[in-house]
């Protein structure tokens, strides 16, 4: 009895629509021939998933060489924006971890840690301002794109992102009211229910950022951006990328100083107790910062390459 062919149309949907319309039928025939009715292996599916991510990144200008410097520069700026979104998550975790750290430090030892903390806070605020300026600079092109039929294309994603944003903002109110009835130990992992709610809120924020990134990737590739706007965006992206590296250095300085002077603060144990400064959340936070800063640097290198070819 002949085996029923595996339905690979679900896997094909991971690829961008333009790629599907060009290669879809041929690709499905290839999958049918290769699998010959068998179930795909994990490696086979992973290869398709990676290929689809690569094609989507390529289509958005995030990867690969592009024929025009404008597309290359646009992709570089978008890569920095996506990296900044990841960086914001790490920054939020850092902010939560470092809450009220000065009170836990022995007298006279908080200065270098304070410098590190101020670098993170100051550069973080500056980064937000640069991203907002970038959004304002691109706003007229975005409105023009929406008016010329873009709304039909991007409506679903924009509404989805707006819904997530409203949910995330509304959720802050009960969370902050709840936190007022808790002491610092309960706020920092001592209360299981509050920690669960906080993690759920953090996930909601992450989803909101990813959703807006998807809107940006979908719209910016189709927007008509003048060379002046692209130059400004490239400059801002370079600034954001430099700030990511500076913030990472500031966070590392803070960690080293607090870890050597008040490791108990990092572990949430009592004042003066011996504790390891290597906490999983800080390791993850710094790792995320480094990855995002590297992605930002990659974006800037694409911008630089586009300027050389211009």
């Amino acid at each position: 009895m002949k085996r029923r062919p595996y339905d690979a149309t679900r896997l094909l949907k991971w690829y961008p629509p333009s790629w599907r319309s060009r290669y879809g039928d041929d690709f499905l025939a290839y999958v049918d021939d290769t699998l010959d009715g068998k179930r795909p292996t994990v490696g086979f599916v992973s290869s398709i998933a990676l290929g689809a991510v690569r094609e989507r990144a390529h289509e958005s200008g995030l990867l690969g060489e592009h024929p025009t410097p404008a597309v290359q520069s646009r992709g570089g700026s978008l890569l920095v924006l996506c990296a900044w979104s990841v960086f914001m998550l790490a920054g939020a975790t850092f902010s939560k971890t470092s809450e009220h750290f000065a009170k836990a430090m022995p007298a006279g030892s908080s200065s270098p840690a304070r410098v590190g903390f101020d670098i993170v806070a100051g550069c973080g605020a500056l980064g937000m301002i640069l991203v907002l300026i970038g959004a304002c600079v691109a706003l007229p092109s975005f409105v023009a794109f929406l008016r010329s039929g873009g709304w039909t294309v991007a409506r679903r994603r924009i509404l989805h992102s707006l819904t997530l944003t409203v949910l995330a903002l509304v959720a802050i109110v009960p969370l902050s009211l709840w936190s007022r009835h808790l002491n610092s130990v309960q706020r920092n992992g001592g209360d299981g229910a509050y920690s669960g709610a906080f993690i759920a809120w953090a996930v909601l924020i992450a989803l909101t950022l990813v959703s807006w990134d998807r809107v940006a990737l979908q719209c910016v590739a189709r927007m008509a951006l003048s060379s002046r706007v692209l130059r400004v965006e490239a400059l801002l992206a370079t600034g954001v990328s430099i700030l990511m590296v500076t913030i990472t250095a500031g966070a590392a300085l803070w960690w080293v100083r607090v870890g050597s002077s008040a490791p108990w603060f990092l572990q949430g144990t009592s004042y003066g107790s011996s504790a390891s400064p290597l906490t999983p959340n800080l390791i993850l936070t710094l790792a995320l910062m480094v990855v995002a800063a590297c992605a930002g640097a990659l974006g800037v290198s694409r911008i630089m390459r586009s300027r050389r070819h211009a």
């Binding site: 041929d26 290839y30 021939d33 086979f44 992973s46 290929g51």
Partner: protein
Amino acid sequence: MKKTPANEGLRRTNDPPFLILTSLASGPKHGHALAKDIAAFAGVELGPGALYGAITRLEERGLIEPLDGEDRRRPYRITEAGSASLTSAVADMRRLVDVSTARLRLAIGGFS
């Protein structure tokens, strides 16, 4: 992308675009035939993502082109630019092979 154990080590020829151009140099092929041919002559199993990613880039660069297929399968053939690019890559490799061979002979001669 998997390699057979015997091919592990200092192989430089597992670059998907190079393998695809080499396969198409003997005539047009569709995706599955390409993958089978590459596995046969190079011992490299290209995954679907790597194979079609390379096909997409090669077509964008005008090094291969699709032909009309009789069914869903679309054969691809190497273009003149593709042949020139492959010829250049092979010449580069040949130079390296010549240097390696000469130096190996020298080393073996020196030890014998």
